[in-house]
């Protein structure tokens, strides 16, 4: 009896195996979902086309990459909640750490799997003002002055906003007599000048550029340069502050999802291609600072020279920065309350 039962189960297993083998054997078109943060739409639109051509030439397989954009923190939450991202290209490492810690979607050492801490391009935070700089904004200190209206997104939902916040904090720390208390007071004063908190960086750009609100937008450098070039030629100026922060947006394959979809190899190749000459060129053309020295040198003129500090050296890493500044009840909650 037992033999017959085992034989029956083996037959079923064979049928399942045959079904799977059939599925894997064919070079079907493949689709990836890249869940990214707000301002990378244009970058990945360009990059996805280039990668599809590259992958088709290399393997003969058609690849289509779907994009999802939003505030980085919100996007990470969505992936943890079930949005099936094959790859994530988010604004900060903390958000991908959450995928590992809370979602178990990739290993904790994800950042070591690609060069440069899995950050194929960098950016920084600059100030975008209206043409002629009517409020004479030259540095972070000017943003806290009375009568200056500042546009920046909400650090609770936007990775870019966290970079903005930390850049302002770092500048205040470096002022004569600067310490955490004075930095906190400065940032509190700055946020009192913020009339609208958008959920993401792209929303903040819309507020400043299209809705005409505010005197200054704290923005990703790539977003500010893009706004100057495409959204309002001759209407804005970029002000490079005396000090800003080195933003290193990371990328990672979401192992659990890609494994389930059978897309691990193409997802890995997709991210590796960001480090190639072509990938770096596309990043630079979209105003991200390329990692590759040769490409960086070629595009050096388009990026203002700014003294840059890192999250690690000023804030002790993202985890600590989150706990101190962005967790519920932390610094940001203490200095900013909606409606006040």
């Amino acid at each position: 009896m037992r033999t017959r039962l085992i034989a029956s189960i083996a037959l079923l297993a064979l049928a399942v195996g045959a079904d799977r083998a059939g599925a894997q054997g064919s070079a079907k078109p493949v689709t990836l979902l890249n869940v990214s943060y707000d301002p990378t739409r244009e970058l990945y639109e360009d990059f996805n086309k280039q990668f599809a051509t590259f992958w088709k030439g290399k393997t003969g397989q058609d690849v289509k990459v779907r994009q999802s954009h939003g505030g980085s923190g919100k996007q990470a939450r969505s992936v943890i909640d079930g949005l099936e991202a094959d790859v994530v290209t988010l604004a900060l490492a903390y958000d991908i750490d959450q995928l590992a810690e809370k979602g178990g979607l990739l290993p904790a050492n994800w950042q070591t799997r690609l060069p440069d801490n899995s950050s194929p391009y960098t950016s920084t935070i600059v100030l975008l003002v209206r043409k002629g700089n009517p409020k004479q904004i030259r540095d972070w200190g000017d943003l806290a002055k009375p009568g200056v209206s500042v546009v920046t997104p909400n650090p609770k939902t936007s990775g870019g906003a966290r970079w903005n916040y930390l850049a302002a904090w770092a500048w205040a720390l470096r002022q004569p007599g600067g310490n955490d208390a004075s930095a906190k007071a400065f940032v509190a004063k700055l946020y009192k000048n913020v009339p609208v908190l958008d959920a993401g960086a792209r929303g903040a750009t819309t507020t400043f550029v299209e809705r005409g609100i505010g005197d200054v937008l704290i923005a990703w450098e790539n977003e500010a340069l893009l706004a100057m070039k495409e959204l309002g030629v001759g209407k804005f100026e970029v002000v490079a502050p005396s000090l800003s922060i080195l933003a290193e947006p990371p990328v990672a394959v979401v192992d659990k999802v890609a494994g389930k979809h059978g897309t691990k190899a193409v997802a890995q190749a997709y991210l590796e291609y960001l480090y190639s000459d072509q990938g770096q060129e596309i990043a630079a053309r979209n105003f991200y600072r390329p990692r590759k020295a040769s490409v960086a040198a070629k595009y050096a003129a388009q990026f203002p020279k700014v003294t840059l500090v890192t999250v690690d050296e000023v804030f002790g890493g993202w985890k600590k920065a989150h706990t101190t500044h962005f967790a519920d009840g932390a610094s940001f909650d203490q200095i900013y309350q909606p409606g006040r």
Binding site: R2, L5, V16, D19, G82, R211, I213, G214
Partner: protein, 464 residues
């Protein structure tokens, strides 16, 4: 001279004052106007910013409302899904459905085998379904009809993809055709004779899938194994039944798109005892037992019990085109049986049924529940859908059954039944039915054939 000079000087000063004064005043007034103008401009700019900020805040608030709506849990009520509560993305849901059938059954010729005419609840089944995440679904369906509680379905589906799913629990094994049609969707109030030879519910594990958007549907599973018509909750032996079904719908377009052909079957060992024979009795469409294996309370050694392989094979087909629906199946069920005083013998019983129905009101006939084009609404002059149906079925016992394993003096060797019916769909959820079915028997009494069964059944069905 001094006086003249003084006079002249004074005159010039006066003249100058007279000449210059309006200009100075004008300049002063201009400066004031500029100041006012700048102040007004600043005020306008400030107000403009405030208005823009308010507009933007309103936009963001609207966005938040939209986003919140996406996350909102939505309760729904519909004829298709019953009452449900589900998350905005549909990944999590609880659905409450139900099936209630209130029948009246009236026997027209029952002098030899009197049967009480009766109003009763044929089925009363609350159905609870849940979706948990993207892959998991659950279903529980008990039946409280006729004063008893019987669990019909309790299973979990893991739907990996359309081509591959796993079902674990208690459910219908994939054998037969009419048996696999939902009790709320069958054309006649009672299933045909052929369904006697297939299992009803069993506990086990089943793999299944649809290939090419349903062109090929397959199921394969391992079950405890139940007798024909059985509804089991456990097993009496280690042996298990293996069941498989393949159903093809090769034509996706055109008249033949409603054609489906398939084959299903099961095989397994069954070892009963004289006390628990693990064998079926068979029922008429009027739900009266007309065949049973020999059994005796005084001499149990003469009791017949299952003792060996049980195999079923069911070729089947249906065809739906416009208002017309046809379905048919042939069932062959073999079972090795034994008496303690008689050698084991394999008995093979066979049955078949053919059913046709037609919607006089033009609805598209279907394997699943049909929605009337216009629900019952006398004020609007609409009366729902009307379906006419006819069926023929037979069940023949293996000749070798008699006399060793069944008493020919009390048990017919064959039953034949024909039926006609009228179904009135007031709405998709409410159906009224009236059927007449006539069943004749070969043998079954010492004097000859058992008295034919003729009955009328009426049904009010509410399913949601």
């Amino acid at each position: 001279m001094r006086a003249v000079r003084h006079l002249v000087g004074g005159t010039m000063v006066t003249a100058a004052i007279v000449v210059m004064a309006p200009q100075v005043v004008a300049q002063q007034e201009g400066a004031d106007a500029d100041s006012v103008s700048q102040s007004l401009q600043a005020r306008v700019d400030e107000l403009d910013q405030q208005v823009r900020v308010l507009q933007r805040l309103r936009e963001l608030a609207a966005d938040s409302v939209t986003a919140a709506a996406k996350d909102k849990i939505s309760p729904t009520a519909s004829g298709k899904d019953g009452f449900s509560i589900k998350s905005a993305d549909g990944k999590y849901a609880v659905r409450l459905k139900g099936l209630v059938q209130a029948d009246g059954r009236f026997f027209l010729s029952d002098s030899a085998f009197p049967v009480t005419n009766n109003f009763f609840i044929r089925r009363a089944r609350p159905i609870l379904e849940a979706t948990v995440g993207k892959y998991l679904e659950f279903r529980v369906q008990p039946d409280f009809a006729q004063g008893t509680t019987v669990l019909f379905d309790a299973y979990t589906d893991v739907k990996v993809s359309p081509a591959f799913a796993v079902r674990v629990g208690k459910f219908k094994p994939p054998v037969g055709l009419e048996r696999l049609q939902s009790a709320g969707d069958i054309v006649f109030a009672e299933r045909a004779l052929a369904t006697n030879l297939v299992p009803n519910r069993d506990v086990g594990l089943q793999l299944s899938g649809d290939i090419d958007s349903g062109s090929v549907a397959w199921q394969a599973g391992v079950f405890n194994g139940v007798p024909d018509l059985g509804n089991g909750d456990g097993d009496v032996s280690d042996a298990k039944d293996f069941a498989v079904r393949v159903f093809l719908q090769p034509f996706k377009q055109g008249t033949l798109s409603g054609l489906g052909v398939g084959i299903s079957g099961s095989t397994g060992l069954e070892r009963g005892t004289t006390a628990a024979p693990a064998l079926a009795s068979y029922r008429t469409p009027g739900q009266q037992t007309w065949f049973r294996y020999a059994t005796s309370t005084t001499t149990p050694t003469t009791n017949v019990f299952a003792d060996g392989r049980r195999t079923r094979i069911v070729p089947q087909a249906y065809f739906f085109t416009g208002p017309l629906g046809l379905q048919g199946e042939y069932v062959q069920s073999s079972q090795e049986v034994k008496r303690l005083d008689v050698e084991a013998l394999k008995l093979t019983h066979t049955a078949w049924q053919a059913t046709g129905s037609y919607f006089l009101t033009g609805e598209k006939n279907s394997w699943k529940a049909v929605s009337p084009k216009k629900s019952f609404d006398p004020k609007a002059g609409t009366f729902g859908a009307v379906e006419l149906a006819a069926r023929y079925s037979e069940l023949s016992m293996d000749d070798a059954t008699f006399p060793a394993f069944a008493n020919p003096a009390s048990t017919p060797t064959k039953a034949k039944a024909w039926a006609v019916g009228l179904n009135w769909y007031l709405a998709k959820a409410i159906k009224l039915m009236v059927d007449y079915e006539h069943t004749t028997f070969s043998g079954g009494t010492a004097a000859g054939d058992r008295e034919a069964e003729s009955f009328v059944v009426t049904r009010v069905q509410h399913s949601f």
